[in-house]
């Protein structure tokens, strides 16, 4: 594992890998070599990077269909991810998952779901198993603001709080559900206050302050390992790209470029990069590019599954 001179460098490397991998995916996408809908998290990568930095291999992370960042930060293999997007046999699910259902059980990446909110109780179930197995591992469940409108979100938080399960709920609130803005969906923009009424620590981050998020989560997860029970954070953020696909879509009229520019001016990827020693940054950038290039080549050169493999894995 690469050693970095600072926390900032480590977080930058994690964010840079996701940012650049998704930019490359977006470049490849029009070629139709990637046979899967892609939901890019460009602009939001810092949240998963900051949170997952505190996790061990035996901990679990649950992402969503916008989950490249969670998968990579938790130790998922970039080659396997790229091959999965290409539909190749060497993919993390042998071409059965695509971009929306990334998984790496051996690294604690819980399989992701394309049905919004569905992964939340499944993550809570992993936390229940941890408790029953007397481990001091933890689970982090990432979700968008839309998923908090699903019934299973409230049901899950209630159950996790009731049983004091070791799980951190992380809402990446980009204030959009596909194209629908928050004000058309929420009666009150007080999610964090609402969750606090379950009797669990709940904290909101309005700004993309990656170091503040990192510090807070570190403390929360330490407490969780010693039995404190679940916690919740809400991070306001911004999705730079369209809901699904490789492009920006500010011209579509459902959100303003002005708002986007405010968030882009605070891009964590740029800010963290600028804070680093130039030589170390260049080294990280070079490593990232080399890994992505290698992953694309791996994906392109890997074989497709044979048709007769269709019937594999229906039952365990």
């Amino acid at each position: 594992m690469t050693e970095y001179s600072s926390l900032e460098a480590r977080l930058y490397a994690s964010i840079a890998l996701v940012r650049r991998a998704e930019e490359v995916i977006s470049e490849i996408y029009p070629s139709d070599k990637i046979k899967s809908p892609v939901h890019l998290a460009i602009g939001q990568e810092y949240i998963a990077a900051a949170v997952i930095d505190h996790l061990r291999e035996t901990d679990y992370a649950a992402g969503t269909y916008r989950g490249h960042g969670v998968y990579l930060a938790k130790g998922g293999d970039l080659n396997s991810m790229m091959a999965e997007l290409y539909g190749k046999k060497t993919g993390c699910a042998q071409g059965r998952a695509g971009s929306m259902h990334l998984v790496e059980a051996s690294k604690g990446v819980i399989g992701m779901s394309a049905v919004v909110g569905t992964g939340i109780p499944v993550a809570v179930g992993h936390a229940l198993a941890i408790k029953q197995q007397r481990r001091n591992d933890v689970v982090v469940a990432f979700m968008g603001d839309g998923s908090t409108e699903e019934g299973c979100f409230s049901e899950s938080i209630n159950f996790a709080a009731l049983h004091k399960l070791p799980i951190l709920f992380v809402v990446e609130n980009n204030r959009l559900a596909i194209h629908e803005p928050l004000y058309k969906r929420w009666a009150a923009d007080t999610l964090t206050e609402r969750i606090a009424t379950y009797g669990i620590p709940a904290t909101r981050f309005l700004e993309p302050n990656v170091l503040a998020i990192h510090e807070h989560v570190g403390k929360v997860i330490d407490d969780m390992r010693s039995g404190a029970g679940p916690a919740f954070i809400e991070c306001h953020t911004h999705r730079w790209y369209e809901h699904v696909g490789p492009c920006e879509d500010y011209d579509q009229g459902y959100r303003s470029l002005e708002e986007g520019e405010q968030w882009r001016a605070k891009d964590v990827y740029v800010a963290l990069g600028q804070s680093l020693d130039a030589k170390e940054k260049a080294q990280i950038d070079q490593d990232v590019e080399a890994r992505i290039q290698a992953a694309v080549e791996f994906a392109e050169q890997s074989p497709f599954p044979a048709p007769e493999e269709l019937y594999n894995y229906v039952y365990a």
Binding site: Y60, G91, C92, A93, Q94, G95, R96, A97, H101, V103, E104, A105, S106, I110, G111, S113, V115, T118, G119, I120, P121, V122, A123, V124, G125, H126, A127, L128, A129, I130, Q132, Q133, G151, C152, E155, S156, N158, F159, L162, N312, Y313, V314, Y315, A316
Partner: protein, 354 residues
């Protein structure tokens, strides 16, 4: 496996409880959750005593959150536990549909064989005394439709225990469809642990004149009808598929090839259902040389009413099954069993041997 000998009669609900208890004894990763499983009623006795024996960490009630609780059970199963999630009525599974269909059934496949969901769902169909629209549905066809799910339907106490023990050992999501009217029925049930194989139908009664396939409680009703038919000289072969998915079609096929007549009595509606699946497979069979005469029975194509006068007309019963089978087998319409005969048939209860 061979059938263990036993002389002990046990009720269906006791057999369900004993199967779970022995599975929990054998494997500390097995736990049970579900609304009311730890209360004084213990799901009509089928979970009674388990919390006292295994403690509240392994036997616990849940909030009324069927959707999330199903996801929790799935997640725990993925992480190495073996949950048994209990629902007192099958109708409540509609609240679990997303998790069962989109996650439980699909995970092993969708995640390339890297994730297993050894989950057991116990669920009970209600019938009679005005159970009505939302306490009476047999929804096995909906679940059996989905690859990755297994669906089993114990019609007797022996299978109730053996299928429970096999379901817990299985590494896939398994739905156990129980029936309230079977809870009080008795059969010979061995005291030692045993399993009932999935995908193996049981011929409960041999006969050459007609094949009757029953599902769940309708197995019992078909056996009663077979008694009435025997008095008319018609020997029905009664088959219990035991497991809906996987389905042992070979046993049904061999029987239909022999009798040339098939009556399927499902504990559900007919439209797009399990009975249609069996008939379709019979139609496709290359081993049934002569086109058989076929009939299906099941719930009336209505919502289940509560008043007895309508409810009685909603379900097949030994009398209507016997009449239908008689007409199919003999080609004649000259017999209707007398009500006092039917009353006697209602006392019939198949207790084994299995």
């Amino acid at each position: 496996m061979s059938t263990p000998n036993t002389s002990r009669l046990l009720k269906y609900f006791d057999a369900l409880r004993e199967g779970a208890e022995q599975a929990m004894d054998a494997d500390s990763s097995v736990f049970m959750m579900g609304l009311d499983i730890d209360d004084h009623r213990g799901i009509q006795g089928s979970t009674k005593g388990l919390v006292e024996k295994f403690g509240p960490e392994r036997v616990f009630t849940t909030p009324l959150s069927e959707d999330a609780m199903t996801g929790v059970a799935i997640g725990a199963a993925m992480a190495g536990q073996r949950p048994i999630h209990v629902h007192i009525r099958m109708d409540f599974l509609m609240l679990c549909m997303n998790q069962l269909v989109n996650i439980a059934a699909k995970s092993h496949y969708m995640y390339g064989g890297t994730v297993q969901v050894p989950l057991v769902i116990r669920t009970m169909i209600g019938k009679s005394w005005g159970q009505g629209a939302q306490h009476s549905q047999g929804l096995h066809s909906m679940f059996a439709h989905v690859p990755g799910m297994k669906v089993v339907a114990p019609s007797n106490a022996y299978d109730a225990k053996g299928l429970t023990m096999q379901a817990v050992r299985d590494n896939n999501p398994v739905l156990i469809m129980e029936h309230r009217l079977l809870y009080g029925t008795e059969a010979y049930v061995p005291e030692e642990p045993y399993t009932v194989e999935f995908g193996k139908a049981r011929v409960l009664r041999e006969g050459n004149d007609i094949t009757i396939v029953g599902v769940s409680n309708m197995v019992m009703e078909a056996m009663r009808a077979a008694e009435l038919l025997a008095e008319q000289g018609i020997e029905a072969e009664v088959i219990d598929p035991v497991t809906i998915s996987p389905l042992d079609f070979d046993t049904i096929e061999a029987s239909v090839a022999k009798t040339g007549k098939l009556l399927v009595v499902d504990n559900a509606w007919l439209n797009c259902g399990f009975s249609a699946e069996i008939v379709a497979r019979v139609a496709e069979s290359e081993n049934i040389s002569v086109k058989p005469a076929v009939k299906r029975m099941g719930f009336a194509p209505t919502t289940c009413p509560t008043t007895p006068s309508l409810e009685d007309a909603f379900y097949p019963n030994p009398k209507t099954i016997a009449i239908t089978a008689y007409q199919l087998a003999s080609g004649k319409q000259d017999w209707v069993p007398a009500d006092d005969q039917c009353q006697l048939a209602y006392q019939t209860q198949f207790k084994g041997p299995f």
